[in-house]
Each structure stands twice: as C-alpha cells, then as structure tokens.
C-alpha cells in the first residue's frame, strides 16, 4: 500500500551522511561463548555503576565493567541451570534498599531476578505463558520492571516484593507477540509497548496506581496479590517524538504524528534495539550487517553522527549500549562477541 503521507505531515528525515562530529574506534572485542548475545545494557540506575554493564546470551548473564584504555573487566557471571534457556533481554533494577538487581528473561518465560549485590538469584517470576522479549525498569522507581512477552501480554512486576502488579492484555491488547516495552521517561504512569501485530500501544496505569503502591507494602504471599488485569484501551494519544525501532516505522491506531525519521539501512530484521546515553542526546543502533549508526537526538533535522563499521563485524547486532556520556558504545553480536567502541577525541574542531 502506497500510503502517501499528506502534505504538512511529513516526518523530517535525517540524512545518512555522517556529520563526523564524533568518531569512534574499536578499542576492545570480547568473545563470550559461542551463542548469540541478545542484549547489552549499562547500569543507569546507580551512579556508582555507571560504567558497569551486563550482557545476556544463551543461558548466561555476565556483568562487566568498562575501564580506561579499552579495558573491560569481568565482574560477575551467572549461568542458568537450564541449558535450554536462552535469555533475550536484561535490565538493571534495584531493591528498595539500593541493592543492584539484574532482571533477565528469555525463551523460558521466567523472569530471573538476580541480586548482584549478593551474587544470588533473588527470585524467579513465573507467569508469562511464553518467551519474554523485553524487560525494562522504571527509572523513577527502579523496583518496578515491565516485561513484554510472546504470550501477547505485558506485565508489571515489583522486584522488591515479587508481585505481579498488573497484566496489560485483553480484548484491545496486542494480537501477536509483544516485542518491546518501555516506561515513559518522565510520566511514571505511562507504558508503551510494540508488537508483531504492527501496533504500538500506550498504556496508562494512572487509574490503577493504588495497586502499585499496595505492591510495596504487601506482606502476604505474592501469589495472593490481586493482580490487576488492565485491558486496553487506556490511552493517551499524542506522541511528540517518535523514536525509530525499526527502519520502517509502523504507527499504530490512533493519531500519531511521525515527527522525525532516523533511517537505518539494512535493519529489516526483528529484535534490533537501539540505545541512548543517559541524557538522551545520542542513540546508537546496529543493523543486520554489523554496522552501527549513531544519531544525534537533540537536533532537528536529525543528524547522523557516525557510522561505525569494522571489517570483522559482519553479523547482526542485536543491541547496542551507550555509556552514560555517550563516549563508549558497546555492541553485542550474533556470534557471541562484544565490541567496544570509544570516542576518539579529535574532530571537535570540525564543528
């Protein structure tokens, strides 16, 4: 369908010519097993660990630290006893008393909450009926995590008490796998999810926020918590900045105004996730051919900062991670390698 964008509603499309404002060089490459790595993520929850990142792949969860001079230190490593587990996603969270948690999910559909403060499994959340495609943490309340699953639902959990607070599904919910989900960066009540049904749904938890509060003080068994089944629609309709997850944006129902497009060539497969630095200034996204595109987010029209490529990086990059200040970009590849790119402090004069 040649859906023509009406005059006056065209998105502002960024040019693919890099501005070369910054340049990145490969400074390290790690081989972590042979299984594909699906996620890499920095810890933005806790300032002490801003240079700590975690990866998942196969049945392993590994915690690293980026050090000066391209050095990467291995800090912790976890292995699921189920060899068939294949983690797809991981997110940093934390306990009420500040203990850093890792929440990982994958093909088994069980959310593993790891207390990396004590290097132990904290809890396992059973409930999703199928594999978990994404886990994200609420930055304002990092005990809350949200998970997106192939079972067509999104669930909101409290890692502190182990309670499944809400399930977002139902008649108006996703009609195919939910691929990704995230919290609104500033509106604590809002959650956006996207799915293989080509829709993006924006959920509001405002009405049921009492459940969230209740979940922190729940003393009884978590299974006895009256989980709220939130049915669509509970929507707000305007999105100001529409971030691209795929090369082609596919707006859902409702009125969506696509403001900007950040084209990413060769990104026509599923499960490629972009990442931003802490300040949401830049975003990096890999593609099917192992290249990374670094976009400046705070400019209009969008500008491509750099296109990172390396002769040996040919396989799909599933996820990238940008460090706190955007100076380091990590990418994890299908072949189990982690690449570290560091900014080269040279071209500042060109601006």
């Amino acid at each position: 369908m040649a859906a023509k964008v009406p005059v006056g509603c065209e998105p502002v499309v960024g040019s693919l010519t890099p501005s070369k404002k910054k340049e990145y060089r490969v400074t390290n490459r790690l081989q972590e097993g042979k299984r594909p790595l699906y996620a890499v993520v920095f810890n933005f929850i806790d300032s002490r660990y801003f240079n700590v990142f975690a990866t998942v792949g196969g049945n392993r969860v590994t915690v690293y630290q980026c050090l000066e001079g391209g050095v990467i230190a291995v800090l912790q490593s976890y292995i699921d006893e189920d060899k068939d587990e294949s983690f797809y996603t991981v997110s940093w969270a934390c306990n009420l008393d500040g203990s850093p948690f890792l929440v990982a999910g994958g093909i088994n559909g069980v959310l593993r909450v790891i207390d990396s403060g004590s290097e132990k499994l904290h809890q396992s959340f059973v409930g999703h009926g199928d594999s978990i495609n994404e886990v994200r943490t609420q930055p304002l309340k990092p005990s809350l995590v949200v998970s997106a699953s192939k079972d067509e639902s999104v669930r909101l959990w409290n890692v502190h008490t182990g309670i499944c607070i809400m399930i977002f599904a139902g008649a108006g919910g996703h009609r195919n796998e939910v691929l990704s989900v995230d919290f609104h960066p500033s509106d604590i009540h809002r959650i956006a999810s996207c799915g293989m049904d080509n829709t993006v749904k924006i959920w509001s938890t405002k009405e049921f926020w009492s459940y969230v509060e209740q979940s922190f003080t729940w003393m009884d068994l978590p299974s006895k918590f009256p989980t709220k089944y939130v049915q669509f629609p509970s929507v707000d309709n305007e999105i100001l900045l529409w971030e691209p997850k795929m090369k082609e944006n596919s707006p859902g129902e409702g009125t969506v105004d696509i403001l900007q497009k950040y084209p990413v060539p060769e990104c026509d497969i599923w499960f490629i996730k972009f990442s931003c630095d802490f300040h949401y200034k830049t975003a990096a996204i890999g593609n099917r051919e192992g290249k990374i595109f670094v976009w400046e987010l705070l400019t209009s029209p969008p500008t491509l900062i750099a296109r990172l490529s390396h002769v040996q990086s040919k396989l799909p990059i599933r996820q990238t991670a940008m460090s706190f200040d955007g100076s380091t970009i990590l990418s994890c590849c299908e072949d189990g390698t982690i690449w570290r790119w560091d900014v080269v402090a040279t071209n500042s004069a060109t601006s």
Binding site: D46, T62, V74, L75, G170, M196, L240, Q260
Partner: protein, 826 residues
Amino acid sequence: MISSSSTSPDSEKSDGENEGDCSASLMYRINQLKRQIQKDRILSVREKHEENKRKLENHVSELLLLATSRSDSMKNPGTGKMLSVRISNPLCKVGGFLPGSGDRDYANGEEVVSSTTARLPLAENIPPYTTWIFLDKNQRMAEDQSVVGRRRIYYDQHGSSEALICSDSEEDIAEPEEEKRHFSEGEDKILWMASQEFGLNEEVLDILTHYVGGTTSEILEHCNVLRQKHQDTSGKSLKDSGDSGFGGRIFLDKSLTAALDSFDNLFCRRCLVFDCRLHGCSQILIDAVEKQTYSSDSEDDGKPCGDQCYLKVKGEANQTKCSTVDPVEESEKHISEVGGSSMVIKRTRDTDEHTDSKMQHGVSESIKTTFEKSDLVLDDQQDSSCKRRKLSLPTAVSVAAEDGPEGNGISIISNDYVSHSQEPDQSGYNHDISLHKTGDKVRNDTEDSKKETVNHASYSKNLPDWKPLEKELYSKGIEIFGRNSCLIARNLLPGLKTCMEVSSYMDNGAAALRGGSTSFFSEDNGKDGMDYMEPDISTKSRFLRRRGRTRKLKYSSKSSGHPSIWRRMADGKNQSCVQYNPCGCQPMCGKNCPCLQNGTCCEKYCGCSKSCKNRFRGCHCAKSQCRSRQCPCFAAGRECDPDVCRNCWVSCGDGSLGEPPRQGEGQCGNMRLLLRQQQRILLGKSDVAGWGAFLKNPVYKNDYLGEYTGELISHREADKRGKIYDRANSSFLFDLNDQYVLDAYRKGDKLKFANHSSNPNCYAKVMLVAGDHRVGIFAKERIEASEELFYDYRYGPDQAPIWARKPEGTKSDDSPAPQGRPKKHQ
C-alpha cells in the same frame, strides 16, 4: 469564486489557449504553497523538538539525582556489596587495544573465561499459553478483533529465526480500504488556495488529484466542507450565542421513542442485559404478536396503593367489589343507606377496539378487559360557590348523611379498577351519557391525602401538566396493565404522577379531551398504531437485509468448505446447525418467514404467534427428566425451556445454597447449560501435553461438565484465523453452526485446555439454549475426581494436523493437544 467551478463549458473553451498557462501557474502556485507548508512543518517539528529538549533536561537531572542518591543510601546496609567488591577485585580483565597503536584492522577477540560463575537454580516453568480472557458466556467478535485483511507476521518456517511479514493470500490485498480520505491541514490550504484562485474546473481538479490525492468527488466534497468552515468561522460569534441555550433540555420533553432510544438500541431482549456481547447492539426489534398481559394479582385489587391512590377517595363507594368487609365498605353501605339518593352505577367497558386488525401492536384479541366502574353519586349542591368538599374517611359519612336529605344535584366520583376476566363481554361500551356529563365536572384535587377534595374547576388546569412523554408512558401503561391506575402510576410514572392523577386522567381527561365515549381507546390505539407502524416497516426492511447477509455467509462457507483445522461437533452429525435469528412475521409465519427458509424453528423470541406452525413447542415430559431421546427437546439437541416446555421448571433450590441444585424428582435434567449446573474444572499441567483441564469432583456418565465458551466468529474469519493457528500449532476453533465458529484462543474458559484424545472421557455437544447454540462438554463415562478431561476434537480425515494424524501408539493412546510452540531463535 466557488461559483466559477460551474462555469459553462464554452467559457472554458474560449480559455483554451490560456489552458497551458493556467495549469502552469496553478502548478507553480501549488508547488510554492507546498514548499511553504513543508518549511513550516520542519519549523514546527524543530519547535517541538526544542520544547522536548528543555523538558528532557529537567527530567534527566532529576534522574541523575536519583542515581547518585542511591549510592549514598547504600552505605548503611552492610550486606549486598558484592558488586562493589568485584569492581575492586574483578574476575578477570581483558585488555583493550592501546589508543596509540593506531587503527587496527585486525582485532583478535579474547575469550572470556570466568572462573567463578554463580548458578541460577532451575525454576519450574509453566506450560506455554497465550494470555486469554475468561468468558462465562459466548461473545460475538468485536469488529476490531478481525484478522481479515490484516498483515500478519510469521516466523520463517525453515529454521532461520527471523520473522517475515506475510499477507498470506491475495484476498488481503484485494481488501479495499474503505476509509474516508482525511485531508491534512496542509492539503486544506492547497485546496483552498486552488479553489479560491483558480476555481474548481476539471483541469484544476485533475491537477489537485495528482498533487493531493483522492478522487475528484472527494476533493469537491472537501472543498465544500472547507467553504462551510470558512463561513462558520466568520459567522462564529453569531452562532455561539445561538447555540448556548441548546444543551439544557430535559428528557421529559422528548418523545417516548427518543427517550427509549438507548434502551431500544442497547438492551438485549434475549439476555435481558444492556450492551449484550452475544447478540450485539442495535438488534432488530421484534414485536411479539401476543403480549403477555399483566395479570393483576389480588393484592392490587382491593387495597390502595398509597396515600395518593384513587381508591382512597373513591373507595367509599366501592360496593361491587368483594365480599371482604372492610371499614370503608361498611361506611359506604352506610352512606347509601342513609343518603338514599346515592346510586350505584355499574359500567362495563370493553376494550374490544383493540382487536382492530390493523393494530398489531398488542393487547391481544383474546383479552377482554372488563372494567367495572362503580360510581357513587354523591350529593352535591348546585351552589357553585361550594366547589370544594372535604371527603376524608370519617367525615364522608357525615357529609353524606348531612347532604342526603337536601340532595338534588348529582356529583359523581368514579372508580375504576381493572379485572382481567377472560370472558369476553360484548356488551360494548355502556356509558351513561348523563353520568359522563356530570363526570366532566368532577375533579379530584390531590393535594392532601387526608383532605381529598372534589374540585370542579381544577380539571382544565390539570391536563396541561401532562407532558408528551408522560402521556406516552401512560398509554404504554394502558397497554401493559390495562386501566389500572395504581400499576401505571407505580411502574411507569413514579415521581411524575400519582395514582390519582393517572386515574383522573384516565377517567375524565382522556375521555373529555377526545370528546366522546369511544374516543378514549381508539385515540390511544391510533397513536399506538402510528408508533408501531413505523418501526414495523423498518423492522421488516432491516430483516430482509439481515437475511441476505446471513445467506451469503452460509453460501460462502459452503463453497469454501472448512479447509482449516478446527474442532468440530462431536456428536457425529455432519450437517452443521443453522443459526437461529428471530423472525418478525406477524401475525403468522408465511412462506417467506426467514426461520422457515433457513430451516430453523421459530422460537419464543420470534414475533409470530404462539400457534405458529413453525414453532418448537417444547416437551411435555412428565417424569423422564428430559434426559433421553424420548424428550423431543433432547432429541432435537435443545435444552428445555421453562417458558415453552410444560413440565420443565426451575425451583429455588432445596436449601443447599452454593452447591449446584440437585435434580430432584421430576425436575428437568435438560436445562443444565441454561442453569449453569456445571462442575468445577481445574486447570493444571497436563499429563499428556501442555495444559490440561481436570475435574474436581467425580461425575457420572452424561453429566454436564461445563460450557466451552469463546468468541463467535464468522467462517471467513475462522478460515483466516485457522491458518494462523495452524502455524502456531494450536487451535481453539470449534464449529458451532452455519454462521459461527467458536474461537477460544483469546477468550474462553478453562475447558479450552482439555486435550484431544481418540479415546476420550468426555464429549462435546452443541445445544440450542434459548435460541443460541452453545457447546456443552459432557462426561462420556464415569470420571473420578481430579482426572484429566479429554474429548475427541473430531478432525476430519484430511483436516487433522500432523500431530493429530500420528498413527496410534507412538505416544500412549492419544495424540496430545497442540500446546507446543515453535522455537523462535533456534
């Protein structure tokens, strides 16, 4: 300027030479405008972006604060420092390439060998499922749930992990986008400019369609809208003042049909709920030929319904009524004895006018309502100054006694009550004219319950108080209750009119207004008739439409067959049931009756008369409990209906609340879906595959276990969904009838998890319950407590998926239900 769009053809011709110039300049203008709009757009995006940037800065600083505060709070607790410990003491370090060594093309990846790994102990997983919604009752699919015409994404079947977007057949592409074209603001501007500066001739339209898109008619239409809008904005201030007074109208001023609009559209007369998910909104209103009459019980006959009851005033005179002696009647007798001049007039009124064949609305011909009117003629003085008379009970006697001797004037207080005697009284309308005349003068003033007054003059004041809605409600009341003011006032006009007002309206008002003895009812009828004629016509036309659609579906499903895999009826019958839709035939079904043509029986929801030959008449089973094929209901695959069957009834249980009521002696055993006499089903991990349904308590053979509920979807939809489900290797489709397939994939109940077996312990059966087909699951044999339930999905020979076609014996007896999932990333 717009009018130039209709310029005559020859004027255009004369412009022929300029044509090129004109279009060129138009194109130039359009491009110019377009560029301007796009520039504006970029600016506006940038503006929003800047705004977002500012917001973001605030927000990020807040987050940063949070993140830094977190590390502070960590200093207190002693435990959980492992991560910090590891930072100072990592498991291993992997050196990077030195920045000085330049751009290395060859990076040798170092293998990470971690000496210590923490193990995550096995967590028991649950079998896969897709999130579903519990339904205790079937639901029709909501329009937006359709998968027809939507792109679907599949995983590549050949091992590789990535998903493909598939429009899996050409029919998807053919699906026309019937959406109305929306014009953006920018397009509005272009259109407006073009229409203002160039007029809307063909040439301009051509160019516009090229630039803006859409058809010429759409553009023309939209231009009109724009012009309207333009005019509106210029004349807005005027309009605003005009509009302001509009909102505050009260319901009472509307007509009854308007007030009942939401009721007519949203109330399901079959399920007796609003917003019925099974039969949908805006159902065709079927008006029954026979209306059930309200049989007034004895409680309504004698006693006043309240302080404002007309009986209170006029009860004194009521002698004809009953044998029970109450003080009122005693006093009445007393009056008549003492007063001497009072007389009792019996009047019978017949409502036979209702039988007018044109008036199909209602009160049936068989009902003859006899009104007994006992009018006590009280003494009244001609003296016009003495218009008011107090008639409280104790004083009534004295008044009568006092007035008796002098009495030469006659006042009438009429008293109506309705008795529904079934014997037709053909005596007609025996109205005493002289009585009527005096009756005109008699008024009731109902201000004080104790001081009931007879007011000669208030009548004409009273009448205008009746709002149109009240009048319509009143006539509805007459239709429902007959001339019983107590019931009408209580049920239809509570808080609006008192019984007494209704009574006086009924007696005098209506009659007087219409100025004749017979006018009262005929007027009513006339009005009702009008009311009913219109819906009647539309009902019929709507009905025809509906029928057409149904049949189309039927044929299409026939022609397409059932290529996909889904569960079928398990009772072995191959012809599927036919969906029942109530017919509106009146009074009798003819050859064109949709029920007859579809081959369904007429049911209680049909408009036709009870004596319709196509009606299913229910059973007369006495003690057989309707559980064998001897019962005609059972034999026809129907549940008994207490409304239709003679001996099938529902009792209020036998005290064992909470438990499903036991089927006592003689109690019908064929209403189990209707009464939800189901077993407790448990959901658990199947012994065979995936999830399974288990039984909590033991049951006997043929016991009813529960209903298989789900979404009702069309066959077309089911074909589509079937293909999707086949890929996922899991299907919850169930052939219900010629029109619908049940799909429990997204909505259903626990029985959807019962697995397939070729040697099952349950069977599924489609039953017609109150006009709807429903799937009941029954025990095929005695089943012990906590046994897993299986039934035969009845795959057709070529319909079974591979896993169901497996030769027996590969894995126990049964081929398990499809609960496996395709692996995504392997």
